[in-house]
């Protein structure tokens, strides 16, 4: 069952308190930077150079036989996926769609990074279910903003099954850059519930060129 699949994944995760981030970027320089940023915030990082590699890592590789491509990989716990938008072959948007189509992984928050601050692009990603959008170049403050997904240390360690309550962060927003610190929950709600006009507004006022 979908829910059981997600819960068993999380239960395995509770044994380790480290937040595991899967970072996807075709640029070697950017991979090195994002890896360092996440490690400073005590995350375990797996960095891959393409959407295809990310899918392989998650066990969603289409070349495998169907029963193996449902994404069940023994012992795998991924808490957050952060991906570049512009990549050759599979874009970050394509990867996002594939992840949201997967019953095993659609609950994992996906954050998109892009060097281009293009509003329709941001909207499209949010509508497809991305939790957040970071304009490159990425800085520590951008990654700190992801603390609701456990980056920088978990606050609520237990995720109960069938929860409809948000995974509340105990710290209120302290500065204007953490505009999504009261971000939506990681509960099984469809993307359309995300208040995109508000988020869009917040993003345009927060981003700077």
């Amino acid at each position: 069952m979908d829910c059981d699949g997600v819960v068993s994944g999380v239960r395995m995760g509770e044994a380790s308190e480290e937040v595991h981030v899967l970072a996807v970027d075709d640029s070697l320089v950017d991979r090195k930077v994002i890896e360092r940023l996440l490690k400073i915030l005590a995350c375990k990082v797996t960095a891959v150079d393409s959407g295809l590699r990310a899918l392989e890592y998650l066990g969603l590789d289409q070349h495998k036989i169907p029963s193996q491509s449902n994404g069940f990989v023994e012992g795998l716990k991924v808490d957050l996926i952060i991906t570049d938008y512009c990549m050759p072959g599979m874009t970050g948007y394509d990867l996002l769609k594939k992840i949201k189509e997967s019953s095993t992984f659609r609950e994992i928050p996906v954050v998109i990074m892009s060097s281009e601050n293009i509003l329709p692009r941001i909207d499209r990603c949010l509508e497809e279910g991305a939790e957040d959008f970071i304009v490159k170049p990425v800085k520590l403050s951008d990654v700190k903003r992801l603390k609701d997904y456990g980056v920088g240390g978990r606050i609520n360690k237990r995720k109960l099954p069938d929860t409809t309550e948000p995974d509340l962060s105990s710290s209120p927003p302290s500065d204007s850059s953490s505009l999504l610190s009261s971000s939506p929950s990681i509960s099984p709600s469809p993307p359309s519930i995300i208040d995109s006009p508000i988020r869009r507004l917040k993003m345009t006022t927060a981003t700077h060129d």
């Binding site: 640029s27 950017d30 490159k136 170049p137 800085k139």
Partner: protein, 151 residues
């Protein structure tokens, strides 16, 4: 030269690079990520950037030498270079890339060739300046001093 003098030279050189636009705030951001657990982080990232630069500049040169020129291909390389230069704070390189992309879009070969030349120049200047910066850092460390950071 003693440690204090070296440190002053380093501070002045860093300040000059920022003032003249060779580097922007992103470089300072990277320096903040360096610590005892990752003491060579900035040098490592910059080395990757240098490798990337040489590869991409070669790709651009080759692509502009094709007949006919595939401007989309050229733009793809410039876009990549713009990205990595932004990530290390190489502001002047990044700005030339932006202009270069415009010429790609309008398929202006002359403009593209000019931009490529500018890029090669800017990269060369940046590389020399950064290598001097790192040499100063090495001398300071060898003399037992600490690296002053830009604030």
């Amino acid at each position: 030269m003693d440690v204090l003098q070296l440190q002053r030279k380093l501070r002045e050189h860093q300040a000059a690079m920022l003032r003249e636009g060779f580097l922007d705030d992103q470089f300072s951001q990277l320096q903040k990520l360096q610590d005892e657990s990752s003491p060579d982080f900035v040098i490592e990232v910059v080395k990757m950037f240098f490798d990337d630069s040489e590869k991409l500049l070669n790709n651009m040169t080759r692509a502009l030498g094709q007949v006919p020129v595939d401007f989309k291909q050229v733009d793809a390389h410039v876009h990549q270079y713009k990205g990595s230069s932004a990530s290390v704070g190489a502001a002047r390189v990044k700005n030339v890339c932006a202009t270069f992309r415009n010429f790609c879009e309008t398929q202006n070969l002359e403009g593209c060739v000019r931009c490529l030349q500018q890029l090669q120049q800017e990269y060369s200047l940046l590389k020399n300046n950064l290598q001097y910066l790192f040499r100063l850092q090495e001398e300071i460390q060898a003399a037992g001093g600490s690296i002053p950071t830009i604030e």
